[in-house]
């Protein structure tokens, strides 16, 4: 386990954080650091604490022990009760939930995307302009009068992304952004993440999909049962078969070749071109 690689000043610092759900440990003395402009993948099997970590970073729940610092400021309930700080923080940090049905609670796509800016009190002409831009960016302008819950899975995901991107956040937290999407929709999301921000934005992606991490991350943290078990650049991690198998990120895959059954570790790697 190497030192956390910080490119420049850290936007998030997580120090010895513990968090429990009903007495079951979700995060266990976790420490890590995220620098400005870093693209980070948080890897781990189901239940390894990825979602919890993102929620802590987004100031939606708070550590029982240890602390989470955002922009050098300790994140606590009290700090986020302060309207000034909350508005600044919510503008700068956006979280895309795994389940778009949770995130899409308004009655039209337009209202959905406008929700964030409205809560932050932006002037209305500005809101209209920014919402249109976000809709265009996600190529969903034609859906703007539709009801979000009547859209397809891929469309919902893009609305969810637009509803966060409309705030032009500096830090984007994504919880399983391509889970349950068809390949084309997956491709669209990945393409967007590759192109977004030109290196000025910080992106944290929680995923267990090893195919995408080389595209969307230059540093990975691997979680298992709420603990940090490894970190490093994607290429190094992908080469560490023992680690990946131990953390349930790959599995021994048995299949049939010309009548013969054989077993080998399987990781759905994207093809090199």
């Amino acid at each position: 386990m190497g030192l956390p690689a910080t490119v420049s000043e850290p936007v998030f610092e997580v120090q010895e954080v513990e968090y429990r759900y009903h007495g079951v440990s979700a995060l266990d003395r976790l420490s890590l650091s995220v620098g400005t402009g870093q693209r980070i993948a948080i890897l781990g099997a189901n239940g390894s604490g990825k979602s919890t970590l993102l929620r802590l970073l987004d100031g939606l729940c708070f550590a029982e022990r240890g602390e989470v610092l955002a922009f050098g400021q300790r994140l606590t309930e009290e700090v986020l009760e302060d309207r000034e700080f909350a508005i600044g923080f919510r503008r700068r940090v956006g979280l895309v939930f795994q389940d778009p049905d949770v995130q899409l609670f308004c009655s039209t796509v337009f209202d959905e995307v406008a929700f964030g800016p409205l809560q932050l009190g932006w002037p209305k002409p500005e809101i209209r302009r920014r919402v249109s831009e976000a809709l265009d960016l996600m190529e969903i302008a034609h859906l703007k009068t539709r009801a979000p819950h009547r859209l397809s899975g891929g469309e919902k995901k893009r609305v969810a992304l637009a509803s966060v991107l409309v705030l032009d956040p500096d830090i984007l937290l994504l919880d399983e952004p391509i889970a349950a999407l068809d390949p084309k929709s997956q491709g669209k999301v990945i393409d967007f993440l590759i192109g977004w921000g030109n290196g000025a934005k910080t992106i944290l992606t929680a995923t267990h999909d090893l195919d995408i991490i080389e595209d969307i991350a230059d540093h990975c943290y691997v979680l298992q049962a709420g603990r940090l078990v490894s970190d490093g650049p994607p290429a190094a991690l992908l080469a560490d078969q023992a680690l990946l198998e131990q953390t349930s990120l790959i599995h021994a895959h048995r299949h049939v070749h010309s009548g013969q059954v054989h077993t080998h570790p399987h990781q759905h790697h994207r093809h090199e071109h």
């Binding site: 759900y21 009903h22 929620r55 987004d58 939606l60 729940c61 309207r83 909350a86 508005i87 919510r90 503008r91 956006g94 979280l95 939930f97 389940d99 049905d101 949770v102 995130q103 609670f105 308004c106 009655s107 039209t108 209202d111 406008a114 929700f115 964030g116 409205l118 809560q119 932050l120 009190g121 209305k124 809101i127 009068t145 539709r146 009801a147 819950h149 009547r150 509803s163 966060v164 705030l167």
Partner: protein
Amino acid sequence: MHIPDGYLSPSTCAVMYGGAIPFWYLAVRRTKRQLSARFIPLLSVFAAFAFVVMMFNVPLPGGTTGHAVGVGIAAIVLGPWGAIIAILVALFIQALFFGDGGITTFGANCFNMAIAGSLVAYASYRLIAGRASAGSRRRIVGSAIAGYLAINASALLASIEFGIQPMLFKDASGAPLYSPYPLSIAVPAMMIGHLAFGGLAELILTAGVVAYLDRTFPAMLAAGAASSMNPIADEPEAGLATKRATARLWVIVGVLLMLTPLGLLAAGSDWGEWSPGDFSDPAARAEISAESGDQAPPIDPPQGMLKLSRIWTAPISHYAPAFMKSASFGYVLSAMMGCGLILLASLSIAALAKPRRQRETQDEGSTNPRAHFASAGANQKISLVAPGKRKRARGFVERTADGILQAFEYSVQAESVANRDGLLQRIDPRIKVIGMFGLIVVTAMSRNVGTITCLLALALAATVLSGIPVSTLATRIWIAAFVFTGVIMLPSIFITQGQVIGHVPLLGWPITAQGTRAAVYMLLRVETAATIAGLLVLSTEWPHLLKALRVMGVPALLVAVLSMSYRYSFLMLRTAREMFEARRSRLIGSLEGPERRRFAASTAGVLLAKTVGLGNEVYLAMVSRGFQGEPYTLDEFEIKGRDWAMLILFAAIGGLAIWFGQKG
């Protein structure tokens, strides 16, 4: 306990509104400052639960409320202020859409049930269960007593409000103007019933749900009891419904089920909810006096009541027509539906199992394994696990959920019609909402068949001019309204006394001219009101309807709760359907009785748990985007000249209809 219009004098109504408003204000303030910032989605989904239950309650012609969403459990989980808001929303929807409880008496009903009920339940629960730890008996006992006391406090208040009327408001001859019975009759008449049966139902419901929550989500009860600001960070998992909790829930459901016939016995008439016409009807008079300490009601309906009761007649109302003798039928329905989704679900699942078992034994007898395998393969696209034949075995609950879902989808789908360029679609939503609500009220008030027929003709013309297919109206609205009204009105044809014009073959029941006329008139009125309401929904996108409410001065909080309730009851119904489908796909053999019941109970429990979990998730998603307790919305409508013209047209039609409609 829903006091109808006309039973309280205008001044009493004003006083009760006056008493309720400070509490509404406080509740909104409190929930805004502390709770709502955390609990809005939770509150919304509790209201969504109520919304779903109320959809089952729609055909409620009888006297009583289902109390499917108890004040007790709401106060214990949400705290008193949250519960006031949640019940307020429920009552609001009841009064407006389902005609249960009056408009002038809305303040009083709110005060009795939402405010007093919540405060009493909360106070008694805290007093008894206070800081009791999870799993302690005191929590359950406390919640039981809280529910029992709450509903009785509400009933007592209502009976007092009834009872002071004849003391304070009399006409020149000394006859009562509004509710006719004094305290000495009103209080015992209402309280005996509530102390015995009404309170018991609430007690069981409250204690049952608390028992379930205590086992599975103890944090929820702690949060409510301490009125603390701890977010309810539950991650509900389907497996959480333990065997014991399931069994306990089933016991509660079973007791409720057994109580339903008690509701039937008490059904004849709900005390204090007679229609003015009942006072001159001999049979109804006998019933009223029997319920009121053998004191006969006044011969003529009280004058003030006559006047006030006309203010708002919901299209489908339990107290409007004198000829509606189906109160007991309505009571059975209300008891069945009002006892809650849990009861309904278990009843229906138990009922559906038999046909399936028969079908399966036949299948197994006739099919050899290979053919069976092939058929499963052929059906793989439809259902991956289940052998194809089971696809059709769908239960009542599933079909009901499906039906509601389709109705929901349909109302949302109306966007395709709502997007067309037609007469109604072009009108500003606010004008349309005001105008068409007005016409519905006018229709409900009309006592003249010609006027109602004219209104129906106008509605039809508007349908054609708006490009709305008449077939849509026919299948979606007319047939439904006909079947629904028909079921209620059918008995009146035979029961209403009057000139006999024929007899039913074989049965020999007399058909009276008056009964037939009343049935036709009622049917026409319901069809017309339903058509206008249908046109409003069909020609307006749901978000615009909500926004119109918002612009018309309904508080943003209320509209947000309404819209999220709508949005998430949709999602919940889908979840319920998926749970049934998932179960069906895993089911190989038929379930034995106890297993079936356990499944029914755990389904209800898991659904509640998912609902609560969902509420919390949605809240977090809102906070993540900067929500701080007060939803801000973007309202942009523009009223053009044409809209003003339409408003004038609506007013003219309404005015004419009122003028001619009064000449009964």
